[in-house]
Each structure stands twice: as C-alpha cells, then as structure tokens.
Symmetry: C2
Subunit: 1005 residues, 2 copies
C-alpha cells in the first residue's frame, strides 16, 4: 500500500527509513571543511602549479588484487597497497599542508576493514579537512571500451556508496579520474555527468589528438556526452593531463623511481638550484598548452607512495624552494592541491570551452600503435564477465524480491555482494580488457566463480521461497558446451526459467540428454513441443570427458516478466504413446534455412552464407560471411611494435581466409524448432547458422580455437560480413552497449587524421552491436560480449572474435597473449552473433530489445523435481511474476536490488536514443506505484544515478561551451505514479517497500 503521497512534503520532514534518512542527514554537510572551500590559496598574479600527489593502484594487472593489496609476489612487481594507505595516512597527518587523492575503493575498503578506530578517526579527519580526497571513487577505475554500461554503473555506485557511508558528504568524489584507461567512451562520460561529477580527468588520448589540442590549447574541453539528454545533463568538463598520470621528468620521488631527491644542505650533492630551475622551465612549457594561469602536475604513478615520506619530504622542499624564488622575481607559485581544487580554479576562470561530441576511440600512443587489440583480448573472459553481470542482476533481483529469505534460507547463507564485488573488479581497465597477466586473468575468473557460488545459494533460497518448493536445485554452468549431469542422467527433471526482464520472454532451451525422446510440459501442465537432436561433433569435442551425452533436447520456453516458469521434462521409453510424431519443419530448400520471419541462403558451391531475407518486410540483402585471420605483426622496419594484448597490428591489411581456398563443409539440421547450417571452416573454426522458430534474427554460433600458432605466427580471427550496401565509409558501433556512435573510416571528427594503420586504426570497441546501412537497409550484428569491430571497406563489417599472439606488445604486461587452456592448448571460444536485417527505420526497434535479451538473458535452473514444500500447507508455484504488467518496450528495468532493510534500489531506463525509432524514441510514463506485484512501495526518493545522493542534492559546476550556455533545469517534484522517461534517460530510485506476503514471496500471476 502506498503511504507516501506524492512526495510533496519537504524531504527533511518525511519519515524515511534507513539509508534514505542517512542520505538526507548528510545533505547539509559540505561546510565541514572539505569541498572546494577547503582548497589551498592561489595567486591570481602568478602561474599556479597544482601538485597532485596520487597513486595509481591497478585492481589487478601483473598481480592479483590480493597480491597487490598485501604486496605478495613483489618479484613480479613491487607493489603493496596496504602499505601505501598506511604510509599516506601517516604522512598526511604529519603535515597539514599536504594533500593526497585516492581512487580505487576496492583497495580502500579492503584496508579500511583492517584499521582500528583510531586510524579510522584520523582518516575521517583528513577527509573532512580536504587533505585526503577521493577521486573517481568507483570500486575500480573501470575500462571504457569493453565495459558494459550496466556493470560500469554498478561498480561506480558500489565505490561511491562505500565512501558515502564511511565518510559522509566529504567522502563524495567530485571529479571522475580515468587516468589510465586506453581511450574514453561517451556513454561513460554521460554516466559520470549523471552521477554528479563536476569534471573528468583523463590521461590517455591519441597522440595526434593530444598534439593538436596542445597546440590549440584545447587540452581542456566540454564533452557533450549524449545527443539524447538535454544539455547540460550529460555535459562533462574534461581535462587531459599533461603527462598521462606521471610526474614531470626528473621529479619522480617514489621508492620505485631513481630521480635525485632534493639536497638542500651543504653537500657536494646539493642540487636545489638545478631542480628549481628545471621545474620552472617545465611549468612554463606546460602552461603554453593550457588556457588559465593554473596548471596541474600529477605527482605519482603506478603503486607509488608505498613509502610516502620520500614523495612528501621532497615535495615539501620543492615547494619551499620554488616559492622562495618569487623573491627573485619568479612568477610561479606551487602548492599541494587536488584535481577538484584545480577544477575549481578552472571554473573560476569563467571561460568558454570547446565542445566535443564524439568520443576518444581508438587510442594510439604513436604511429602503428593502436590500442585496439584489447577490444577483443581474452574473449572467453569477456564473455564470462558479461554473463556474470547478467547473473548478478538476476541474483540482485531475487534478493530484492525474496528479501531476507534469499539471504538466509535452506541452502545456506546467500550473498550477492561477493559477485557484486567480483563483477565490479572485473570492470577494471586491466581486467575485462584482457590486458592482465594470465595468472591474474585466472584470478578474476576465480573471483567471479566464487561470486556465482554465493549467488547460486541466494538464488536457490529465493526460488524456494518464491515457488514454495524446496527443490534440490542444480546449476549447470556449462550448458554452452552441453554438459549437465542431471539432465544427462535423469529420467525426469524440472527446468525453471527465470526472466530478469520487464517483459515476457520466449527462450530456446537446449540441454544435453541421452534419451531419444522426451515430453515437456509448461507451468500449466500443457505439453510444449520438443526435439532431440544429435550433439554436433564440435560440441562433443568441447565436452571432453565432462559429459557422455550424445543428444540435445530442445524446446522453446517462455517466462513472465521479472519472474519464472517451471517446465517438467520426462524421458519417454521407446513406444511410449507420447513419443512425438515425425518432424515437420518449416519448408525450406536444401541450401537455405528459414522460419516465419527470416530466410538465409547459402552458396551450394562454397557453403558460405550468401543472402539474408527478411520475410516480414520482403527485404533481401546479399550477405557473404566468412572467417579470416590477420597475421599479427612482430614488428617491422618501420617500428618494432608487435601485436599484443593491448595493441592490434596486423602485418598486412589483407586477412587470410580460415578455410583457405577450400569449400566450407556443411550439414543441415532442420526440425520444428530450429533450422541450422553447420559450417566447418577448419579444424579449429566452425559455425552454426541457426534460425529458431519464431525469432526474427539469424544466430551465428561460432566456435573458434585452439588457434594454431605452431607456425610461429600470431593470429587474430575475424568474422567478416560483406554486403552490397553503399556505406560511404561509415559504420556504427555502440558505446558501452548503450549509445550508438557513427564511425567513419580513416577519419576523426576533431582532427585531421594521419592514418598509419588502415585496419587497426579503424577498429572500434563493440560492446553490444555494430551495424552498417544505406538509405534503406540496415544490417545489424549483436554480440554476446565486447569485441573489436570495423568496416574495412564499404558494405562490409567485421568483428574480431579471438586472437592468439606470440609476442608481448611492450605495454607492461610482459606476456604474449597465448592463453592456454587446462589441456595446455589454446582456448576454444564459442559465442554468438545475432544478425538482423531490417529497414533503417525499424532497426532500432529490433536491436534495442534483442540486445537487452542478450545482456540480461533468462537463467535456467534445474532440479530433479518433487522437493518438499517451503511452507507447510502452502502449495508450490509453477510460475511467478513480480510485475503487475509488462514494461513498455522502450523501458528497461536496469536495476532492482536490495539497498537497506526495507529499501530497494530501482533503476529504470529509456533504452532508445532520440530519433532512432518512431515509436521507441517517444517519452514513456510509468506508474511506479502500480508496477510491482511482489511488494508495495510505501515511499520513494529519486536519487542520482549513483544512488548515493538524492537527485536534488546534486549541484554540479556549470560550464559554458563555446556554442553558448545551457542552464541546468531544476529537479521537478517526483510523482511516483507518473514517472516519465525521456530517450536515453536513466532514473534511479530508492523505494521503501512492504512485501506482500511474509518472507517476501508474492502471489504469482
């Protein structure tokens, strides 16, 4: 029952429970001494140099997170974050003028729980006085190319929530701090803006871009990070740091450096004059590239400040001696500062800043050095990360829906935080990127797996509570390679399909079995069509010893929005009357497959796909698809740059067909549920082109690997589509799975590109989709993970699906990306490309929703069936939905998660961009109060995207672009019964709820 009215009472008078109350209390705290008013005094008449002491602590890279935290395996890299925080706190306490910033909450939170109250008190004081400032403040410093927006938001929110909880208003970061990621995405910039950041600092931009900007003094700019949101909602002031994130040359005073310390006593090593003069020279040069009389110097680097005394003692001296030169006429004033204090001074300058609309991809740090390999590196891990976030969302939803019964239930303690933190860690710019050492990648996977375990307990508890039946739930994690002991052995079992989407879903189920014939019934006991097919040779090889199954059972399941359906499966003995009749597939020719919506034609001579037809729209397009490999460069006369984990550099722009000149061997499977062409390109590369009954897309399930490298050549495998579309050098890729950006071959919107790599220099990150189009038609390919993609010639598009390299690319990881599996061979990677052919006008209506199904896919839980009742006397539910009605197609339930006791976190997003769909791009209004059936919302507060601040507490600095000012609009009063979403808008709420039945389970549909 709704009790909070329309939220017209002043927030402070509201009876808000738990975290909401806390947040309101913290609202007025900014006057405590932190924030902009705590910034050091500056000198308007002088060049002000902001020294920003910082450490850059990778949440895993050459060592695992735990190894970095403790300082284990220092022979690999000397780095121990526990000591960094110990040391910085002591050194800050020793001198009130010193300042420090810290970014990575994964480490901070780890350290914090080991500290005694006295230390915590000291740290809180430092934060309250602005001496210790948090920047970025995510759980990690996330990647921008391979990170999907859903976990990217979550990891930021996770870190910010910790900071808010432990440090209050002074702990809230004011600047985004993406100093190391290898390029910068527009969607993430929009997210930063919507989380309330006043500005963003980045370290890595293309060397040509940087040189141009230095010359034009456009190193600092205003980034308009959305074409849908009204300015300045997604405007983000962006500063490019002068030295990536390192100190100026000669001023590195960490224990990891060897620059001479300041010797200012009577000593033959005295170097004060020399050091001061060098510093003044550097400051003057740097000032030439920036617009104000303020410049910033990052004083730190990777894992610096383990012995903070070295840095601070020498900077103390530097500051004293440089400022002492003012008495001799020097015009330079130097002091400890922070990025936010620097930002504040830039804001005070009241200038107009150049406006940027595109993004910062791809990143090159020199000719032939395009960091576009990592878009694909470690494709198996990239998929595992994506799938893990999918499961995390399901886990969070079920925790929210089942309440305490999810965390404490018959299967043991369930906990979503393990997976939440593991997924957050996986967003790190050396995690999902694939640029970590192998043992670290293994550890990321281990962390995720541990998260899955905790979540599976939670899911079991929740499903038992919601369904009323204590089943012996089984989680088959290897269904993609058809391994599941229960279904292989059992004569009867149940299949529970949980659907995390706000809309009903129809989903193909494919399970390994040994029986020849099964009967499947739906929640209502009605039979569901099913088929049994032989397991393909390729899949059998992948199963290895893991399975003895020879067949797969197929059926099309469906599940209600935010809920589940339970299906019963029974093996039939030969002669059982229920054995289904002979299959009657949709009619198709020998060299084609088709369903109600699509027909796909193949070339009978070569076996390649050759045409796709959209039967609904009577559209057809010649589409040739095949696999190729780029031969990885090992360096050449021009430059020694090799292709590696970061860098993509083919030694020729012409990829080599995987199948050579041979025909692709094929075979067909056709039945009532599916039509498939199995293509065998080589012993290590195959594909199933598949049409599921009733689905509008063509599924290309590719299986690639182990990539052979015994010939001494690294190989980068692509799936290339060639069409007749006139694409005029243009193609389109998503930004973190959300916005779409136009790409143009051999072109950058903001500078005159000198292209050095005709292939690698045109690669862009593809998180969820890539498409090409002409005036009429659009061919869209959706991916199940992040990959690199491009359109190397008109009418084509390609995605790099796997890569295996024999040389390190000299960016620090120090290993070639050879990825060995347990069998000491290269990894086999299996994935899916979903291909849509449609009109340009209708394309978004399909790919927006289909992409949603890919990243928040339904989840299958199995059970032998026949478990006891959860609550004595209560019948069990075969089907359940937590929604009263489906969400409209343009609205996605991005987040439903527990927050505090009785409070849930809710994010709803409009998933269309302005103008991309006649219907989809319209604003939509939702009645929050009548949306859920599982619980009743009793009060609700709208929050900023990070959920750590009430939306009306956000007051960002306003920046003026050269195109003219855009004033922020006041936050309208919230009417939870009429929540309107504009295109690309995400709205975040904390809702206090009452569950509709004790224990959290609600009535089903």
């Amino acid at each position: 029952m709704w009790t909070g009215g329309h939220m017209t009472v002043p927030a402070s008078e509201m009876a808000v429970p738990g975290a909401v109350a806390l947040l309101l209390t913290l609202l007025g705290e900014a006057a405590a001494g932190c924030g902009y008013q705590s910034c050091p005094p500056t000198r308007p008449d002088l060049l002000n140099v902001h020294l920003v002491p910082h450490t850059h602590d990778d949440v895993g890279w050459l060592k695992t997170v735990e190894q970095y935290f403790y300082g284990v395996r220092n022979e690999v890299q000397h780095a121990g974050v526990q000591y960094i925080l110990d040391s910085v706190v002591a050194q800050l306490a020793a001198n009130p003028s010193r300042r420090f910033i810290y970014a990575e909450v994964a480490f901070l939170a780890r350290w914090w729980r080991q500290q005694d109250e006295a230390t915590r008190h000291t740290v809180r004081q430092l934060v309250e006085q602005g001496r210790l400032e948090f920047v970025g403040g995510g759980w990690c410093m996330s990647d921008e190319a391979a990170a999907h927006y859903s976990p990217a938001i979550e990891q930021l929110a996770l870190g910010r929530r910790f900071l808010r909880r432990e440090f209050g208003a002074c702990g809230t970061p004011r600047v985004a701090w993406q100093i190391d990621p290898f390029g910068h995405s527009r969607q993430l910039a929009a997210i930063f803006a919507q989380m309330g950041y006043d500005g963003l600092f980045v370290g890595r931009v293309d060397y040509q871009d940087k040189a141009t900007r230095e010359q034009l003094r456009e190193m600092e700019l205003l980034w308009r990070a959305s074409t849908s949101l009204l300015p300045p909602a997604a405007d983000l002031f962006t500063g490019i740091l002068p030295n990536v994130y390192n100190p100026p040359s000669g001023f590195c005073w960490d224990q990891l450096c060897s620059d001479p310390p300041v010797v200012d006593e009577d000593s033959e090593e005295n170097n004060v004059d020399n050091i001061v003069s060098t510093f003044l020279q550097i400051a003057a040069s740097q000032a030439e590239h920036y617009r104000t009389n303020h410049i910033i110097m990052t004083m730190g680097s990777d894992f610096h400040y383990e012995n903070a005394n070295l840095w601070f003692k020498n900077m103390d001296k530097l500051i004293a001696h440089v400022n002492a030169r003012q008495a001799n006429g020097s015009r330079v004033h130097v002091f400890y500062s922070t990025p936010s204090c620097y930002l504040w001074e830039l804001h005070q300058a009241n200038l107009s800043w150049s406006l940027k609309m595109d993004d910062f991809f791809p990143y090159a740090d020199g000719p032939h050095q395009f960091w576009t390999g990592y878009f694909t590196s470690r494709p198996a891990f990239k998929r595992y990360e994506r799938l893990s976030n999918n499961f995390l969302q399901i886990c969070s939803q079920l925790e929210a829906l089942a309440g305490m019964a999810a965390r404490e239930g018959p299967y043991g303690p369930g906990d979503s935080s393990v997976l939440r933190e593991a997924v957050a860690v996986a967003q790190h710019h050396d995690a999902v990127t694939g640029t970590e050492k192998q043992h670290v990648a293994d550890d990321y996977a281990r962390q995720l797996a541990a998260g899955w375990e905790s979540c599976q307990l939670l899911v079991a508890n929740a499903l038992a509570s919601l369904s009323g039946s204590k089943e012996n739930f089984v989680f088959c994690n290897a269904l993609n390679i058809s391994i599941c002991p229960l279904t292989e052995a059992a004569g009867r079992f149940t299949v529970i399909l949980y659907n995390p989407l706000g809309r009903h879903v129809s989903w193909p189920i494919r399970l390994p079995v040994n029986g020849a014939s099964y009967v499947v019934t739906d929640p209502q006991g009605q039979p569901v069509p099913s088929e049994v097919v032989p397991i393909s040779n390729f899949t059998r090889r992948l199963q290895g010893d893991g399975s003895s199954a020879t067949r797969e059972l197929l059926f099309q399941a469906s599940a209600p929005p935010l809920g589940f359906s339970t299906f019963m499966v029974s093996r039939l003995s030969r002669g059982d009357p229920r054995v289904p009749p002979a299959q009657t597939p949709v009619l198709s020719q020998p060299w084609e497959i088709q369903n109600e919506h699509v027909r796909v034609l193949f070339d009978p001579l070569t076996g390649h796909l050759k045409e796709i037809q959209n039967l609904d729209k009577s559209i057809s397009l010649p589409v040739f698809q095949s696999f190729y490999w780029y031969n990885a460069s090992i360096g050449n006369d021009e430059t020694p740059q090799a292709s590696g984990a970061y860098i993509f550099r083919p030694n020729s722009s012409e990829p080599i067909p995987v199948s050579g000149s041979k025909q692709v061997s094929t075979y067909l499977v056709k039945n009532r549920l599916v039509q498939e062409v199995h293509q065998n390109f080589s012993s290590w590369c195959s594909q199933v082109v598949r049409l599921h009954a009733g689905q509008p897309y063509v599924e290309l399930e590719w299986t690639v690997g182990p990539i052979p490298v015994e010939d001494g050549w690294g190989k980068e495998i692509i799936s290339r589509f060639e069409t007749t579309l006139q694409t005029d050098a243009r193609f389109y890729t998503d930004s973190n799975g959300r916005q779409i950006l136009e790409r143009r071959r051999d072109y950058r919107p903001t500078w005159n590109l000198s292209q050095t790599e005709p292939v690698a220099g045109n690669y862009y990150p593809v998180n969820s989709r890539i498409f090409i189009k002409d005036q009429k038609l659009q061919l869209t390919v959706l991916t199940d993970r992040s990959q690199g993609g491009s359109s190397i010639f008109d009418g084509s598009l390609e995605l790099m699906v796997h890569r295996r390299l024999l040389y390190d690319d000299n960016r620090g990881v120090g290993e070639p990306l050879v990825e060995l599996g347990a069998n000491k061979q290269g990894l086999v990677v299996r994935g899916r490309h979903l291909v849509l052919l449609d009109t340009v006008e209708s394309a978004a209506d399909q790919h927006r929703l289909l992409a949603q199904e890919l990243f928040m896919a339904p989840y299958t839980v199995l059970a032998p069936g026949g478990g006891p009742s959860y609550r004595r006397g209560h019948p069990s539910l075969q089907q359940f939905s937590a929604l009263q009605r489906e969400l409209p197609p343009n609205v996605h339930l991005l987040t439903l998660a527990p927050w505090d006791a009785g409070t849930l976190l809710l994010r709803l997003e409009h998933q269309f961009e302005r103008g991309e769909s006649a219907n989809g791009s319209q604003p939509t209004t939702i009645d929050l109060l009548n949306l859920f059936s599982a619980f009743t919302i009793t009060s609700v507060q709208e929050m900023s995207l990070g959920a750590d601040l009430p939306l009306d507490a956000i007051s960002r600095l306003v920046w003026t672009p050269t195109t003219g000012p855009a004033q922020p609009r006041p936050v309208p009063k919230l009417d939870p019964s009429q929540v309107t979403l504009q295109p690309m808008e995400i709205r975040t709420f904390l809702a206090t709820v009452q569950y509709n039945v004790p224990g959290g389970a609600s009535a089903g549909l």
Copy 2:
C-alpha cells in the same frame, strides 16, 4: 699548576670542568629504563627467538656517503638513509614492543642535525626506553684488515662521543657490531674490550670455520684478544650470527626484498600456517648450532627499513601467530629484541665458553674464495688514508697545543673535525678496503682532501701562534713526486718540520729545486749538510706538467718531541763561497751501498739485491728481492670465481717476474746523505734501494704502475724477498699495526684446514709489518700502508703492492678494479718498504719505533720566510717542544687532542708486547704532571679507551672461558705523577689544563 692533588677526593666532590663533569653526572643514569633491565621478558621453558630489527648502512660503497644519506643515484642502488631513520623512528613510536638497533653514527649524526626538537625528543625517549639501541656506535663499522689501530680507535671514539653527548648513558652501545667486515682482527677485539663493550657480534667467518663451529656448537666463544694484557682485560665474548646479518630465508620483508608478506585474513593468499611452520623449522635448526635456549635472528640487511612499516607490520604478525602456536604445544617464543638483550640472556646462562686466541683471518666464503685481495686493493687510497690519519694527529696535537689560536687565527677558521670525520669515514669496511666503486673511492679522497684543507688552516694558525711568526705557510702535498712550486722557484725559503712523536726525530728532507746548490741552516743558525741530486727519470715522469724542477735538495732535518724546528734554505749562485765541497760519500763498492749501520749488496749480473748486512751486529743474510705478478684468475672449470676487489685468486701459484728474464737496469747515486741503487724492472716497475746516512734500515722505494692489462690479464704485483732463513712455514704479521700474530702456511689454529688456494689462502693483512725469522735472525719489512702479505715458501716473504683487475668478483661492487688515473691510464703507485735485519731479540726494539715513525711521521711545512710577528714585540721561535722531556722508547703518545674547553684528551700507550724485547717489554712509569711544557694539567681523570666513560664506570659482563675464570681487577686510584703502562696497554685521560702563555703557546726548549 697542579691543583687536583692525587685525586683522592671522591670524584663527585671534585671541581671538574666541562666534559668531565658531564660524564660524572651521567654515571648513575643506567636505571632510566634502558640497558639490560629493559630487555623483553623471556620464557625459560621455551626456545626464545630474539628478532633483531636492523639496517646495515654502509658508509659509502656503491654510492657515496652523501648519496646514501639522501638517496641520490637510486638507479645504482636503492638506498636513502634519511628515510630509514625517519621511518624507523615513526614505526618504533607506533608500537612500544618494537625495537630497533642502529650502528653507523656517521649517518645518525647527519640526520640528527636536520631534526626538529620534537623529533629529537621522541628519539631520546625511544633510546631511554631501550626501544632504540645503538650497537657498534662507531662513526662507521670499520674494516678490520686494512684499518690501523690509531684511526680505528678514533672513529669508534668519535661515534661513541656523539651518542654519549646526545643520548647520555642510554646511548652508550653495549655490544660491538661488526656484522659485515671481511674477517676479524684480534687487535680490534682488544680495543672493543677496552672500550667497555660486553660482547661482539660478527657476520663473516671462514666457511670451514663456521661449519666446524656449528657442529661443535662453538658459534659463541670467548675471544682472548691479547697475549699481553692480563685477562679479562682483552677478553671479548664473540657471537657468530647465523645468517651473516640477513634474515632467515623467506622472512625478508623489506621493500628491497620479495618474500611474501604475512597474509592472515580470509584471502586466497593466506599463508599464515605455512609461514609459521617454516619459521618454527628454521628456529629449531638454528638452535642446534647454539648452546642455550636463546637464538638470535637478524631481521634486516643492507639499507633496509627505508619503509620500516613493511618489516614491522609483518613481524608484528609473525610474533603474534608464532606465539599463538604455543597454545597448540609449540615450544618457541619469539619477540622483538636487541643484540644486548640476547647477550644478556647468554650471560644469564652461566656457561663456560670455548676460548679463542688467534684471529678470524683470512676470510673465505667458499672454496677458492679468499677475501685476501682487498688487503691490497686501491693501494694509493690506502696510503692516502694512512697519511691523512698522520696529518689528523698532527692537526689535533697543534689544536691542543695552540688552543683557541689554532681554530681562530690569521689564516681563517681552522677545524680538525672535517679531517677527523673524513678519516673516520675512511675506516669503513668498504673504504680503506678498496672495495667501493671508483666514484666512491674518489669521493672518499675528496672528503680527506677537504679535511686536509681545514686542518692546514688550523696548522697554519697554530704554527704562527706557537712560533710567533705569521709566515705565508705553504703546504706541498705532492712532495712524494717532487712537486712544490715554492721550493722550485724561491731563492730563499724556510722549512718547518713538525714532529708529532714523543721523541726527538731525525728526518730526511727531499725537496724539488732548480738551483744547483743551496745552503741550509738549522734553528740555531748552524749550517746543515745538504746535497742536490738530479731528479730520477721515474719521478720526472710522475711529475708530469706539475713541475719543472730538475733537481732535488736533500738534507737531514731533526725536530724535538711534540714540536718543530725551522730550517732556512738559500740558493747559492755559482761561485758563492758557501757552495759545498765535492761529495765524500761513505765508502762503498760499485755493486753495493752502505751507511754507518747497513750494507746492501747487489748482483752485478742481474742488478737484484742479493745480501743485507747489519754492520752494527755483524750479521749478514742473503736476501734476493724482486717484483713479480700473479696472473689474476678469471674463473676456471672448478669455479667461476675471478680475482677482484675483494677476492685474490691467481690462476697459478707461480708468479711471473716483472722483469722477465732480462737484467734489471740500474744506476747508483751516492753522496754524503744518501746512497741509492735505482732499479728498473720494467717500463712500469722501478725501485730505489736507499740508505740514508745514519739510519739502520734499508729503504725500498717502489714505483709500480700503470700496470699493463692490454693483454687481457689482470695482474697482482708483489715484492718478494727470498732468504736462506729456515722458517718452518711460519711468518708473522701485525694486527692493525699493533699486536703481532704468528701465521703458519696452510694451517689454522682452530680447525683442520682444507686448503683450496695455496697462495691466496695464505695471505694475511699487513698493516705495518711482516717478518720471518729463524732461531737467530729476523728480517722485518715495514710498510707505509696496509697490504696483503705472506710467505709462500720457507725463507721468503712477499707483499702485494698493487693490483689491477679486469673482472668483477661478484661480491656486489659490480666493477672490475681497473683504477684509472686522470690520464685514463692505470694508477702509478709509489711506496716504501723499510727493511730491517737484526737478531730476533733486538728486532722489536727497532721495528716498534720505526713503525711509529712511519704512521706518525713528521710533517713538513714550507714558507717563503720573513713573515711578520704574531704578537707585536714577541720574538719568533725557530724551535719548539711541548714536552718537558722525551717519552721513554716503549711509550707512544697515541693521542693528544682537544676535548672540551680547557680539557684535552690524552692517550699513552705501551708499544711493546709482553716478552718481545728485554728492555722494551718492561712496564714504564710516566709522570703525567711533569710531562708537558706547553700547559699545566690541573686535574685529570682516567677514561676508558673510547674516552666517553670514566674508567671506573666500566663494568663489563664477566664471561667464563672453559680454561677457568679470570676476574676483573678493580681500577686502582689514579696517581697522575706515576702512571704505569704495562705492555700493550693504552691509557686514556681527560686532562684539564691551563696554557702556560695566553693564546696557548708555551716557551720553547
């Protein structure tokens, strides 16, 4: 005037000024919380493991002292002592159970003067509570092989004085801490005993010795460090550390190490069980080599604790977890401790300890790895160090004699502390040893040179004050290669010869001139015989462009004890009636030279020395002398060990004659003052065999270098003497220039030697002399610096004079010992061997006094003459002595130096060993009160050898050797008019004095 009576009044009632009063005040302080009573509680029922956190801070090695202090040139070696002390103090303050020891006062004093009062207060508290303990406490951790006892005592006293002054009684070190020197000398052990140390810990002993001692549990022993002093005066408990000075394997937690930290939380890196078990295993193994239920572990190494948090944080955890195992039955108790607390527990054990009489030379850390090269490495620097201490003693004496007039005079501020500290630094075990990098050796020389400059100002001030004449003093530092612009150019000049010895000295003067004839007059105006000889070709080559002199003026000067004589020199024009008559040398044959005492015969065919005759005793001995080179090993099949800065390893035991098979070309110089045979062994090796009129020794002035290495072979040059003496494998070398130890070829007194290097394994340090003897005759060779020496076959002795090597010997210095001079060629080194042939009974009477003249040689100051009067109306003095009478021959005035205002430091030593001379080895009694004429002693207190503690304040722990106890004798009341010296005794006094004339100058003789 003497006012103190016979010191029978209780010390506390005496009117004692300055430092003496301070020392008395500090006497009763030991109860303050430091000292043995502050030691951590131990468990008699368990194995007690004393963890001793420490850093080993070389006072120069791969970097200079200043570079180490500040952390400059960290690319060479990461080390910054300023940060170490910063960090340790902070970490000690953070936890009262933690302890730390510090050894090198050169660094501590440097750091101390930068600290504010708050930090000093903290440090004083730590010291007073025993949490910070000083060990060793010398200015550096001195070398033991190449260090002469005079500067070795001084550098210890310098450090101890600092500690006493700044930290009082709690600052006084109780254990000697020689954990890195490459072997250990008996004389230094005796010095430690006499300074009041309760014990000594060493790190490096021969690997065979160590293995034997481990097996016999004799790793801890009682060292009887003198055969002359009555036990237990020179008894020193000595502990050999288990791991040199490193932590046990796997427990190195410094930033410079990579051992895993203790991970004791829920983490996949958790390693507590493993770490604790490993530790217990190591402790148990170690305990098998030691005798009590206490063992010591050194937790630190070279320049560790720059970030002390790493060490302490992990040791805190180790201690907690290891001791927690006691609950599970573990019998190990571990805690923070110090060497003195460990020593205290050993003492409490009340055991009898094995007695050692010999020393710990030579040191080998494995087969073929004898650290006997450094006995000779950098011979030029070794000489400069020796000469610098000589000048320091002169400087100190003149400062004491002239008082304030020495420090503030007409030539500017004079200061002996610069040279005192530089000489102290030069004692470091990588300084005088020659095992530092070249640039560091250069810096040591620079430090010494700076000290010379300060001292020369002081000497000028003092000489002007004492002589009453403000001369324009000139210091010609390159007289050894006959460069002196004044004497070369001037027609008239004066020569002031200062004699620092307590006895009259006669000294040959040799000055570069251009005139053909000079007249020289003594202080009384009487003419002194002089000669002008051509400069030898070898010397001319060494002069280079530094001089145009073609001749040398020779005359025999003399000076009174502790005073000076001034000689006037005037060039005579041709035809001057005073031009001396033709020379009438002592009669000698063409192939021999002789004087009143000695005749030396040469082989007319080969040019080699062939016989020496002592004319006084009518003794003659066939002595063949020549130069050879050992071919340095570059490693061989047996072991890759090369000869290097530390290690001596010839690739053959047969050295190669420098002159090849050729005759040595020779020529003779004979005049009234000198007879010389100039021998030319090769283009880079020559020698002058010289007899000065009236002197009982043969002087062999050798000039060696640049050693040619263009053939790719390192060379180690020896001067070898072959005689017919039946030496039975025995020879004799001094210990730090003082005691004499018998050496025996291929033999060690305390274990059954397995000899792997027939040459290098028989080399011993020679600081001042080496001799061989039979029943009747003794051939003694005195050196002017430390060298390696041996007797490789009976009747022979050899000294290595120079070495030049092309390979590093893998002991850390990382450079081959190629020593290049300014001209980029190898160094030319010139030195002297003084050879004495005498009866065994009389030998000591000669070599004891001659050695004294070598290390405290007179010093020549030059002046144009005719300077104005120092005090108007006072006549100038041509001669001066500060003594009322000469000291007896067996007494040496080791130290006369200013202490505090009005107080002087005085050390008198008996310079004979018990039994080595019928007369010389008798006790001698001195009347201190009537010894000096320059000042009157008004009160005097006897001090321990370090001068920082009153003698009667010394109360050392008494240790019982297996041979039975020796009880310390009570300190008798001092009667300064009857100070008796026993053989090898050094007595130290602080004397309050009144100068006999204002300004400090006394009347002359």
